[in-house]
Amino acid sequence: MTDDVFFATITELNARLKKKEFSAVELIRAFAERLEKVGPAYNALALPLTQLAIRRAKAVDDELRRERFRGPLQGIPFGAKDLLSVAGQITSWGAKPFAAQVLDETATVLTKLDKTGSVLIGKLAMVELAGGPSYRMASASLFGPGLNPWDKTRWSGGSSSGSGSAVAAGLVTYALGSETSGSILTPSAFCGVTGLRPTYGLVSRHGAMALAWTMDKIGPMCRSAEDCGLVLQAIAGGDAEDAGSAGKSFYYTPQYARKLSDLKVGFAAADVEWAEPEMRPVLQAAMKVIAGTGVKMVEVKLPDFPYGAVAGTVVSTEGSSIFEQLIMSGKVDELADARQIEGLKAGLEIPAKDYLKAMRIRTLMKQKFHELFADVDILVAPARYGIAPPISQPLDAGPTNPQRPATAGLNALIPAGNLAGLPALSLPCGFAQNMPVALQLAGPAFSENTLLALGREFQNQTDWHKRHPQVG
């Protein structure tokens, strides 16, 4: 098996399957064995599902022999963050108190992917309980700290740690992650993969662990913007089992995307100054590529709100309510991260008036983002302002850039975008200290096709998304 298979995109692999260069069983077996063997080296593997996967691949081969083509995902191996349940299998949510949990339902997104013929080869590690309301160390996981395939002494990001590592290391062709406030964008940026956080409500969360009902989203982490579009098309859609479902479908239609020259892209000049010094030339070069696609660049300011305080309050209140039984039983003390434990306990004490105030502020945020997106179509900003930190470094160590710029720029775009339910795309855009650097594109609700169109053009003009670490 060679890297050209392990690091191929969905469309490349599917074409090779159809040309019978290899069978689905051969492909799935090779990936599954690689995931089982290499995944633990990054603390990325939660549960291998090799036997189930090979059985499923045999069915795919039967279909391919009969020329029953289901679409580009047919026969493609993927992994799922371990907050997505598979009936009859362990779903640990990355947390010791749930280490032996077996649920009797399969998550809607996994059922949908199964119908496309895509093959789940394993569950991937994650930060315990998806990280909420707060954790302090990279080791806040049943599986140990997520290790970055670009440098194993650095963190892979959270909370979709295993999803980021597994895609970056070529252990799966794509993975599903989830985001409440940064959990897809952060590991995508740190691991140098392309990640898409969909609009709130576009993808069903039925069968997924809830951390914050009003903020949780499930999305793909892939090798390219195009792959993200293909996976999103398969997993999006209304679901009566998810109270937050928007009841909308998504069709990846790059052929109908707006002309890039018609798009206005908002940016903030201060953003580059917020980034670590080694990242600045990389980000500046990437912004030039964005500008060179023909879009009109417009300087903007993020609406002025206390995003961090609102996001913290919403996630703490909802998360502590969800895990009230865990907290009251005392089993919460089995979690790995002491601050996570205290954060969950403290969240039960937040007064209703404060939670409601946070939710009222979200109403105003929504209005202001409507106004902002009347002026621009997309916002572009660094996905993260620092590279992946060493795993020994507390995550609250603070910025390494001691000189804070005078204006905030778009540096609160992750909590802001999550509170307003906006989609965002993380694009690898270079390296600093030999670690990946990424841009994020964010847009109004249900603007995924526009984000993907600009992302695809960026990736036509660069090859950062094609770089991969040396593995094995």
Partner: protein
Amino acid sequence: MRPKANTVRISRRELAATTLAAALAPAAQSQTQPGLAKTVRDAQQRNLDTLTKFEIPIATEPAFQFKA
């Protein structure tokens, strides 16, 4: 090209690096400090104080839909 079974190998050096990395990662629980509960509650209270100070029109209802 037909893919064969995986032949990825992890070198001793890599295994050592991984082991070292894991050893370098301090156990999260070991970060427990006597004042951690107070630190967490103080941070939470700062968030709540920020919300209290943020003035909003009286007619503003809580968000019931979370899409922009």
